[in-house]
Amino acid sequence: MQVFFSIGVDALAYGMVLFIISIGLSVTMGLMRVVNLAHGAFAMIGGYIASYAARDLGLGYGFAIILAVIGTIVIAIPLERFLYRRIYGAPELTQVLMTIGITFCVIGLANYVFGPTLKTIPLPADLQGPVNLGFRTIAAHKLFAIGCGVAVALGLWFLIERTSFGVKLRASVDNTAMAASLGVRTRIVYAASFALAVGLAAFGGVIGAELLPVEPYYALRYMVTFLVVVSVGGAGSIPGALIACLLLGAIDTTGRYLVPEYGEFFFYLAVIAIVWVFPRGLLGRAK
């Protein structure tokens, strides 16, 4: 029983970190129909900004997070205006080629500016160290990550399903021409959702930095994991991404706990099985 709870807590924490980082990609891929392979690069930029703010400028953790999200969005705006706008609706191969190109440029720049060494984001005292749950101890920042994941999930669900912005976004995605003729300024809606996705990436990059440390190859290293989450959950579905993260987190953690010698076998076996049964992902929408 204790083992069961132990695995459960770890799986929840890992799944939530995955969720925060991947959900932005689910928004770009599912709602905006852009295969954005540079998603990890934006998460990394967020991590670097937070690390710089907290370590070199000595700002607080909260400030570092806000600065990382805003800073990453500011960097992303010209990219959206001059590069991404050209590939909305373009064939997937074009999108993949351009965004992977951006990723390599970001890796090169990060290597040049910050060097190849690991960068950490110092945590405030409250989030450091272990918390005793009775049956085991867990890192305080993991509890914080779980909380952040829940908040992001609820906030996004509310934004997309319950606000007028959400209505406009869904309308623009489903039929751009019709939405535009009804007076929705689709360009602004697209730019805003792109900024949202990038901001979420940056937020995830900072919150997840304890598990996925920031270094120049971050942008590529975890890309497969993010893509898996989106394809298993169903692109564009927030509950889908959440379920996928929790499920994959549980499978991965259980596998590592009980039979680590099998490596990622069970993780990818589960991915194959899910995608086989649900080709559009667990809660994916038909095109």
Binding site: G115, I138, E210, P216
Partner: protein
């Protein structure tokens, strides 16, 4: 056909090299990509050696050519080595961060009449693949086995090994386990983790449940190490008094600022610490820091490269600049010198470096910087890995 061309080129070089006044050394290593920092350290070590010893031996000028293999890629490594030998006419091959890259080149050496000086790749068997291989770095066996003796000396009866599931990890596991059990200890469990593990919390729970008094770990240096050490602290293993033991790859100096306080008290065994206290090392560190630019990036591969250059310089002196791999390698068999890491020699049998292995503890200096503090020396350690393989 390829072989014929190679042989012909080698023959031409054989005749020509005697009168050449530029002696070329081809260095293969990861100079871009995720392991670029290690390649940078190769270059820093080589530059430091040339800066302190000059680029001339007699009338001959030394020229170093670099070739980039960003990740372990034996085919690419072999192709580049071939290009260096055939097109550039290098007389010496050196570098090699990854074992498979070095292994792929060994079949070329005899035919090309070129010695290979391995500056990092740490699997014991490389030196057995060709009589023209000399290694100036270390092997995972060499640096891991003394840790098992330390564990026993400190009264540890039960230990658990946790390694990344790849060649060097398995090497480290075997080295620790064999030595630890020979000394009368018991390895209660051996965990092999997939290389791509990001969340080490489940592993730490298993370590905790195993009831071991110490955990011996090996992971490739870099991002995973950081997550592993943090998970060790956060899951309360440090508080529970489970001693963290590892070879020094885990606490390489370029990772220490990121590891920070989490690494304090970790015991490692390794052949070189930048903090090693000797006049030779102080001179080396000064020159190497200048060469690498950012002092925080200096790490252990630099010393392997520095000593590799020393060996190559001795080979060039012995052959008078003529291309003669056999004579060159014979000349350095048994060669002994004072390296920045301490007294070293090339074992005439294995052509691997015999060196001191130090027990170190991660400590915080008075200036707030973290360093590996040497607290015990195992003198003149050969490579136990080859003997174990027999």
């Amino acid at each position: 056909m390829k072989k014929l061309i190679l042989a012909a080129a080698a023959a031409v070089l054989l005749g020509g090299a005697a009168y050449a006044d530029v002696i070329k050394i081809g260095v293969v290593g990861p100079f871009s990509g995720p392991f670029a920092i290690q390649g940078k350290n190769f270059k820093a070590g080589i530059d430091a050696y040339i800066a302190t010893h000059g680029n001339k031996i007699g009338n001959d000028t030394i020229e170093v050519l670099y070739r980039d293999v960003p990740q372990a890629d034996p085919a690419q490594s072999k192709a580049l080595a071939q290009e260096l030998v055939v097109k550039e006419g290098v007389q010496y091959l050196a570098g090699f961060y990854f074992t498979p890259d070095a292994m792929a080149v060994t079949p070329l050496l005899q035919q090309a009449n070129v010695p290979l000086v391995v500056m990092n790749a740490a699997t014991s068997a490389i030196v057995t693949k060709s009589p023209y291989v000399v290694r100036t770095s270390f092997t995972t066996w060499q640096t891991s086995a003394p840790m098992a003796k330390i564990a026993r000396e400190r009264g540890i009866e039960k230990a658990i090994t946790v390694v990344s599931d790849y060649g060097p990890g398995v090497d480290a596991e075997n080295a620790f386990k064999t030595t630890f059990e020979k000394e009368g200890g018991k390895v209660v469990e051996s965990i092999r983790m997939p290389l791509s593990t990001n969340d080490f919390s489940p592993v730490m729970q298993r370590v905790r449940n195993s009831g071991a008094q110490a955990v011996f770990a090996f992971l490739p240096s870099g991002p995973t190490t950081l997550g592993f050490v943090k998970a060790y602290n956060e899951n309360g293993l440090k508080e529970a008094g489970v001693q963290f033991l590892a070879p020094g790859d885990l606490t390489q100096e370029s990772d220490l600022p990121a590891l920070g306080d989490a690494a304090l008290g970790i015991l490692t065994t390794f052949h070189y610490a930048i903090a090693h206290d000797s006049p030779e090392n102080r001179a080396f560190v000064e020159a190497a820091r200048k060469a690498i630019g950012n002092p925080a990036e200096l790490s252990f591969p630099s010393v392997g490269a520095y000593d590799g250059m020393h060996v190559i310089y001795k080979m060039i002196e012995a052959t008078g600049g003529k291309q003669d791999a056999k004579k060159a390698v014979d000349a350095v068999k048994g060669l002994a010198w004072e390296s920045p890491r301490g007294p070293v020699s090339i074992d005439p049998e294995t052509r691997h470096i015999t060196q001191n292995i130090y027990l170190r503890e991660v400590a915080k200096g008075s200036d707030g910087a973290y360093y590996n503090k040497e607290i015990k020396t195992f003198e003149k350690q050969p490579d136990p890995g080859l003997a174990a393989a027999k």
